[in-house]
Symmetry: C2
Subunit: 332 residues, 2 copies
């Protein structure tokens, strides 16, 4: 059954029951607007869009994959403020020839991420379109705390990261290689490489680590969506400091990706330091803070002279690329 | 200059200064998420998407037109809850060959609607795409009042409407006719017909009438985006009543559209009762309420027997169509 075989109301009747109501939802879908609790007297809001053939390909990603990604990348931005996610709304533009099952899968993907967190999918809009475009706006509650901005890193702070590094980029490279008709490497009969493809198709984010960092007194935080070096550079520039990362801290990440890198002829360091869409959290903590267990220390905040790079690795400007630009398109 | 000539950051540097910060904005664009005040301890949220060649055509609509529409249709949903709009976020997917001026115009269109209301455009996301897709999520504050739902209409209430009826549909018909190479009618040297084309390209909504209705004790309310009969039917079904509209109440609307209807061979009653995208507000008030001056009474809430239609005009089931389905596509 295709989308074009149903009216909007019939399609909604299949989707809405899949969506979690959420523990902060005071009025769910069905009226002109939803109502969400904001006990803090403020709410955090962020938005991101996924466009077919730019952010995902239908040949590789199921509806559930895309739904999970759309939820995770938005909720990670909420968490990166130190907020607890409460709700999201979604607009979905889809071709008439799309299988209804794909759309229901997308709803299930949103639900799979949101449901366990008590996040409600509280509203949406459907439209026809020549290609799939999924736009999400997500909200969160700061629980009375000040937000953790990217601009608060101070000289002497430790730099810490929660989540994974380079796994999504590695997964993308493996999928690309498989799609190009090559094998993923000698002896491999699939491209999964211990979950790397899944890490690309269904990234996860250590969402509870955001509020944990805020409670622990994080001085700065952001979501690592465009690559560690690039996002660290943003934090460094916003804070007027230099982030010096310690190469030793990434040895395990690089080792873990070594086989996949060999298989596709890539540099695992480029994945770890430059790969996008892992949706970890980068944060800084004062020298006396107790860094939460969800984070590992990866460097130190240093002063930045006029000619200094914003980010260094072991005090040297890194040789690998600066990550990628969603807008200019990614290198696939 | 085309979008593809700029990086995402360069394009943002042109757009962001155009956007109003808003009087409820505690933290604007630039970090992972924005922060908006919710003094009521709740917030209202709604979302809508506009897809090129389905909701608008670039040959007819400027970037500013589309920006205005995107803002108005979302803020109207906020107002229809009885809330005061506070903020919106927007995702914009655009082709690389699009003029940068079109995108800046879209930002100006959002600003033209939001700025005077104190509504902030607090966040966004940009992506490339083969066609323009604009998605907005809008938020509002209920100021301590209960929301005005569509389900609250009670037998004996008066039915009232704020805003215009049929003007957007008339404008669309005129634009269609002009695009098809016909003239808009004998003696016309343009298709403007006293602002009807503008009413289609840049619909307005009586946004302050939403909170006014709530303060006056409106029992039910919704945004009229899909045609009066269709949206009245939604209210009637949600409330378990019949809305009886009084034909006399629409005489002036029909008269005003008579010339344009003659020019394109249309029935002005179909525009007034069935035309979409006027974004007026339909509300019901108890028999003793003082209906705000922004509304005019157009009917009465009656009981509904099992076989009754949800909406009648002078107690008879109306002969014109039920409006249109955004998803199945509109009749252009």
């Amino acid at each position: 059954m295709h989308v074009a075989d149903l009216t909007e109301e019939q399609l909604l009747a299949l989707i809405v029951p899949e969506l979690p109501l959420g523990s902060s939802t005071l009025l769910g879908p069905g009226d002109d607007a939803a109502i969400v609790a904001a006990p803090d007297g403020r709410f955090v809001v962020t938005t991101d869009v996924l466009v077919e053939d730019r952010h995902f390909r239908r040949a590789w990603s199921s509806g559930e994959d895309v739904g999970r990604r759309a939820a995770v990348q938005n909720l990670a931005d909420v968490a990166a403020m130190g907020a607890v996610p409460t709700s999201l709304v979604v607009t979905l533009a889809v071709p008439g020839e799309l299988d209804v099952a794909w759309v229901v899968g997308l709803a299930r993907g949103l639900a799979a991420v949101c449901g366990p967190l008590g996040v409600g999918v509280v509203g949406g809009d459907l439209s026809g379109s020549p290609l799939v475009v999924v736009s999400v706006a997500a909200h969160g509650d700061l629980q009375g705390r000040p937000p953790v901005l990217r601009s608060g890193a101070r000289v002497g702070d430790v730099v810490a990261h929660a989540g994974v590094l380079g796994r999504s980029a590695a997964g993308l490279a493996l999928v690309d290689r498989a799609a190009a008709g090559g094998t993923a490497g000698p002896g491999d009969d699939d491209v999964s490489h211990d979950g790397l493809v899944t890490a690309y198709l269904r990234p996860t984010s250590p969402l509870p680590a955001g509020p944990e960092a805020a409670r622990a007194g994080a001085t700065a935080m952001l979501d690592v969506s465009d690559g560690l070096l690039r996002d660290a550079g943003r934090m460094a520039r916003a804070s007027g400091v230099r982030l010096d990362l310690h190469a030793d801290a990434f040895a395990a990440d690089v080792t873990e990706l070594a086989n996949a890198a060999l298989a596709v002829g890539a540099d695992p360091w480029a994945w770890v330091l430059g790969g996008g869409e892992d949706h970890g959290l980068l944060a800084t903590f004062g020298p006396d803070a107790v860094v939460p267990a969800s984070f590992r220390v990866i460097g130190r905040v240093e002063s930045r002279a006029a000619d200094d790079p914003a980010v260094t690795v072991d005090a040297v400007a890194p040789a690998v690329g600066p990550g990628w630009d969603h807008f200019a398109g990614r290198p696939d």
